[in-house]
Symmetry: C2
Subunit: 174 residues, 2 copies
Amino acid sequence: MAARTINVGSVKQRSKNGVKANGRNGEAVVKPVNFGPLATWIGFNLRMAQESAFQAFSRRSLEVGESPGRFATLTLIARNPGISQTELSLAAGRDKSSLTPVVEDLVRRGMVERKRMRDDRRAYSLNLTMAGRKTLTQLTRCARGHERALDSVIGMRDRKRFIQILKKIAAEVK
Amino acid sequence: MAARTINVGSVKQRSKNGVKANGRNGEAVVKPVNFGPLATWIGFNLRMAQESAFQAFSRRSLEVGESPGRFATLTLIARNPGISQTELSLAAGRDKSSLTPVVEDLVRRGMVERKRMRDDRRAYSLNLTMAGRKTLTQLTRCARGHERALDSVIGMRDRKRFIQILKKIAAEVK
DNA sequence: AGAAGTTAGTTGGATATCCAACTAACTCGC
DNA sequence: GCGAGTTAGTTGGATATCCAACTAACTTCT
C-alpha cells in the first residue's frame, strides 16, 4: 500500500556509444553499438538523459532517506498551501490516482496534513507539517547539489535556453 | 507475462502554469500554481518534457498497434544483427531483466528470431525476421512524424545543440 | 427542488521498470 | 584440468505509473 522501499537502479557498464566487454586477453574492449536513427532523434535522447538525471537524483535523495518522487510533491504542497490532490496531480504531471498512495504515505509519516475542504467536502486540502517542512529542506539541499551537477554538464551559457525548450516541449507537444 | 495492452495516458486539462477549474459562472478560470524552485530546475523540466514527448509518441505508435517501448528495441536489433540481450539492454538504457519479457513477446509474435550463440551458449543472438522488419518500417514512419513535430517545437536552429546537451547528460551524469 | 451531469478521490487491473538472487555456462590462474 | 570468479539470462518481489470504473459530493438546468 504505502511506499517503503526505495529503488535506485544502477547501470553497471556504459560507455559513450558502446558496451564494455572483455577481450581475449582481459583488456576492456568496447564493442561499438550502432544506434541508427536513434542517435539523432530527440525522443530517444530525451529519455536517456531523463533516466540518467533521475538515477543521479535518486542516489542523492536516498542519502536523506526519501524517495525522489516525493520531492516535487512536497515542494508543490509547500508552495501552494491547501492545494487539492487533483490540482497537485495536474501540476506534477501525474494521474490523480497515482497520488493516492503517495499522499497516504506522506500523511502516515506525518509530513502532510490532510483535511476536507470546507466548501467542497469531496476535496482534500493539503498542507505540510513541521516535519514535512524539515524533510523538504533536506531534499531541497540534495536537489540544489543535483542541479549544480547538471549545470556543470550543460554549461551556464546554454542553461536558460535549454530549460525554455524543455518547457516548450512539455507545453506544446501533446 | 507478455505485454499486450498499450497504455497511452492523457492528461485531461493542463495549461501553461495552472490548472483549469470552473468559475462561479461556468467560464474556465485558471488557478495559478506556484512551482517554486521547480520552475527553473533541470530535473523537473526534463521529466515533464520527456513525459509529454513519450505520451505523444505512444499515441502515434498505437496507430500501428505497437507499444512505444518496442521501437528502440527493434531498431537496435536491426542495426546490430546478432546482438545479445545484455548488449541490447545496455544500449537501450534498461536493466537486462526488463528485456526478458519484451524479447519474449517479440519472439512470440514472430518479430525477432532468437538463437543461442555458437561461441557462448549462455548468450542469445537476436535478429529481426521479415515481419519484424516490416513492423519496424511502420514504427519508423511514426517516429519520423513525431520527430518532425518535436523539431517544429524546438526549432532547427537549436536542435543540434539540444541533442548534444541531452547526450552529454546521459553520458556524464551518473 | 429534483434529475442529470460533472468532479474529487479511491479502487482494481495492467504495464514497465528496478534490484537481488539464482542457474548455467564461460574464463582464468595455477 | 579444475576450482574460483565472472557473465548471460531468468525469476521473484517491489515501486511507480497508467486507465477505467466507481462512490460521494457538487452544480446546473428546467
